[in-house]
Symmetry: C2
Subunit: 249 residues, 2 copies
DNA sequence: CGTTCTTTTGATGATGCTCAACTGGGGTGG
DNA sequence: CCACCCCAGTTGAGCATCATCAAAAGAACG
């Protein structure tokens, strides 16, 4: 199915993904690779693929063939619980990798949905594994990314298991803030790409609780909210709140 | 401040780990490898190490050099939350791998403590990565194991985020049961190697809640409990309870 | 056989959920 | 252009679940 085009053409680069030209290559899979290794990686990266808002990149039980690097936009991954409601397992942004949970069974374990019009690079996993043999640095960095996903999930477990609502929400905001900072965006002002309901499904809270929390933090002067735009007015206290050392009565 | 055990011993070969001779090799890292590949793996596996009950295999922030394969016994991994209490991130048993969360930062992200006298095989990660270049099947299976850890944590997130106490506990029992079954032990009768408190710290509940849940399930005739020995009398209903389709009023 | 730690059980209360009503913004069609 | 609708979000009241506090009972260990 992949769109195959000669690599030499000028206009083709619009569809064929290229790590070297990608603004995310410092954060993404090719992080730390040299010129020639990046070029090798470019050879196997499949086409770029647009994923319109609210459409699925893959869904649970789909056979696994590709990892996806987010080039642009935001995604959520979620599982549907036996009782029918969604649990959002993560929100992903540009430079992050989707699909690593599918390696173990060759089938995806969750749905991945675009929260806005987005773009991903297809990475055929079988070819990537071949490439690992010749680029040890790539292999090592891939292991780091998988490991990072494990630790990320561990902190969500910590959050869901130990924290009260207010603490969870503060941790959520602080986490988003630092990820935007990494990407060169403002750590203080950003758009929430997800609905209140999706935030609730991520934090193990109801939409009403999220709404109340927003109101409370706003009243305390910790944040400013206008629809989905949010400004962190007091990152220090928010951080303290996430750490559980400060409360908002 | 890791607990360091002396390496100096009389008979090195007795302590040198050997995958080929290990009863866990069908479940563990060497799963699916041929004779000669297992032999190569044996070359790099470090010494076997005894870990007495209640001692740490590694602790948070220890530098990462080895993965550990559990040969015998049980472990818990836990993080200490900012507010001071433990959150148990997992219970591990023979054939499972410890330390994968440390790859991303070269430091361990949690403590790993033996729940009973246990034994692990040291796997120097740097040498393992070298070996990946020559044994693609080993690499692939390693990726499966990391991916499996990701999906395992996702189901814990689901559990902590969406399930009520009773459901969490049923899911916990059912999970233990199936892991013992995989290892050839009875899925119906087994010892809980962890305290009520540790179960609580895993499920995001208090020790009192765990105790009450045990009493309730016992009264309903779903389980039999005597101290830490537990028998699942009605696995079907327990499974339904874990799935959220049956309740215990 | 006493000491200590773990577990059980009971009473009370707070956090966050449920149900319900209301608000406001954005899009559509008359 | 305005009326209307629809959906996302907000706010309120009451309640259920599980945490907290307290005390007793039971196992484990020297």
């Amino acid at each position: 199915m992949a769109i195959v085009l000669p690599i030499t053409t000028i206009n083709v680069s619009a569809l064929k993904a290229s790590c070297s030209a990608c603004s995310m290559h410092q954060l993404c899979l090719p992080m730390g690779l040299g010129e020639s290794d990046i070029h090798k990686l470019d050879q196997i990266i499949g086409r770029r693929r647009k994923v319109p808002k609210d459409t699925l990149l893959y869904r649970m039980d789909d056979p696994f063939t590709n990892l996806y690097a987010i080039r642009l936009g935001h995604f959520k991954t979620y599982q549907v619980s036996p009782s029918g409601d969604q649990l959002v397992t993560g929100f992903q942004m540009a430079g992050e990798l989707l699909g690593m949970d599918a390696i173990s069974t060759d089938r995806h374990h969750c749905d991945a949905m675009a929260l806005e019009d987005s773009e991903v690079c297809e990475i055929p996993f079988a070819r990537l594994e071949e490439l690992f043999g010749t680029i040890p640095a790539l292999l090592h960095h891939f292991h780091r990314m998988m490991s990072q996903e494990i630790t990320r999930e561990q902190s969500v477990m910590l959050l869901l298991g130990n924290m009260r609502a207010e603490q969870r929400f503060a941790a959520f905001l602080v986490n988003l803030s630092s990820r935007y900072a990494e990407r060169g965006y403002s750590p203080a002002i950003f758009q929430l790409r997800m609905s209140r309901e999706e935030i609730g499904n991520y934090l193990g809270l109801t939409i009403e609780s999220i709404s109340r929390l927003l109101s409370r933090l706003k009243k305390q002067g910790l944040i400013r909210v206008a629809n989905r735009e949010i400004e962190l007015l007091d990152p220090i206290r928010l951080r303290a709140m996430a750490a559980g050392t400060e409360f908002c009565d």
